[in-house]
Assembly symmetry: C2
Homo-oligomer: 242 residues x 2
Amino acid sequence: MAKAAGILIIGSEVLSGKVTDQNSPYLVRELRDLGVEVQRISTIPDDVRVIAHDVREYAGQFDLLFTTGGIGPTHDDVTIEAIAAAFDRRVVRDPALEKSLRRYYGSEITPAQLKMAEIPEGGCLAGEQDLGFPVLVFRNIFIFPGIPEAVQKKFARIREQFRDRPYILRRVFLRTDEGHIAEDLHRVLARYPALQLGSYPILHNPDHNVILTLESKDASYVEQALQYLLERLPAQTVVKVG
Amino acid sequence: MAKAAGILIIGSEVLSGKVTDQNSPYLVRELRDLGVEVQRISTIPDDVRVIAHDVREYAGQFDLLFTTGGIGPTHDDVTIEAIAAAFDRRVVRDPALEKSLRRYYGSEITPAQLKMAEIPEGGCLAGEQDLGFPVLVFRNIFIFPGIPEAVQKKFARIREQFRDRPYILRRVFLRTDEGHIAEDLHRVLARYPALQLGSYPILHNPDHNVILTLESKDASYVEQALQYLLERLPAQTVVKVG
């Protein structure tokens, strides 16, 4: 079984259409590449009750939960408070983060800036070797900021700890109508029920107009399913196999 | 109160990083522009039980629910079946859709193609004036396909029915650190608690590095909050007001 992950995008700016979420596309690609199965992405507002509810639910449901957004000095940054509330913990100041912030801002540091040293009690920092980009971790929850550049730098520091057996992906490019091959796909799934089989129509492509994706963590299972499928598909519909 | 909406992106291809969701960014911008408040976007797999659970929950929680994906002829197209299951309805064939499909595919239409005429019993078509782009509607659920081009064409036909009182948005562009203005923002919210106030750090911009957004459906409320804010912000930090 692949490790299952959830992603929680915390950001009223995404829900109001001011900012397009770049973090979930990045995280799903990275996690898939690492062999982790993302089972849900939710985008929710900067609302303590909503965040706390979802964090509790998803942290229980998935092996790993990644949050982005709501980490910062202003009123709309409530992710830490919400995660603490979700698990009935206090919010405390992390000494290493505080030291790092005081070094950066100097003696004129404001209470709002010091808020960025706060973590749910019992949380810790991952990737500590470089205090510039620590990731807050509480239980199985990895807490990222909202800025895509920062998410990517931080995730890169800790990504290897998530590496799992990789997915094997094969693609079949077709010129056909999905309605003509649906029955063949059903037959493949009846024989290979654990296969992750996708069928996607492609518009405006002179070469092919359907892509099938066959995936599993078991390479020989994918190859067998692929051969079984290719024996069934009308040969003239197959443009290429990749 | 604004109408509240949820968006459900049904697509294992998004969760596995093969396709980047373009539908939720489109729908949130359109809905915001129409004065509708999107409160949640969730991306979930092509799984009948998961879809049925979320559809039931979100259709109850929000005034409007928009789904994209899972409408088509293949095994992974299970949205209609899931919505029917969520409300304990049968799946039935819509006569208008069936006629339209038979006209398009001719006498060699396959059972898989006819599957695209299926709707949850009690559902109907919106935008019927043009059968090329009908939208399936079941209760408060608007059911769209996954292909962005089709979503946009279909949504355009029915968008006016969602029009509500518009949001008024003002922006303040600043050169400062968020930690220096957090206290001012708290004061604004203490006085104007219904204001939607966002604060966003901007990287690598020589002109400004924080954008504040002030929103409400009440124009004079936004203007008063803006004036109150501008009186509090250190004048030299304000680059422009838009």
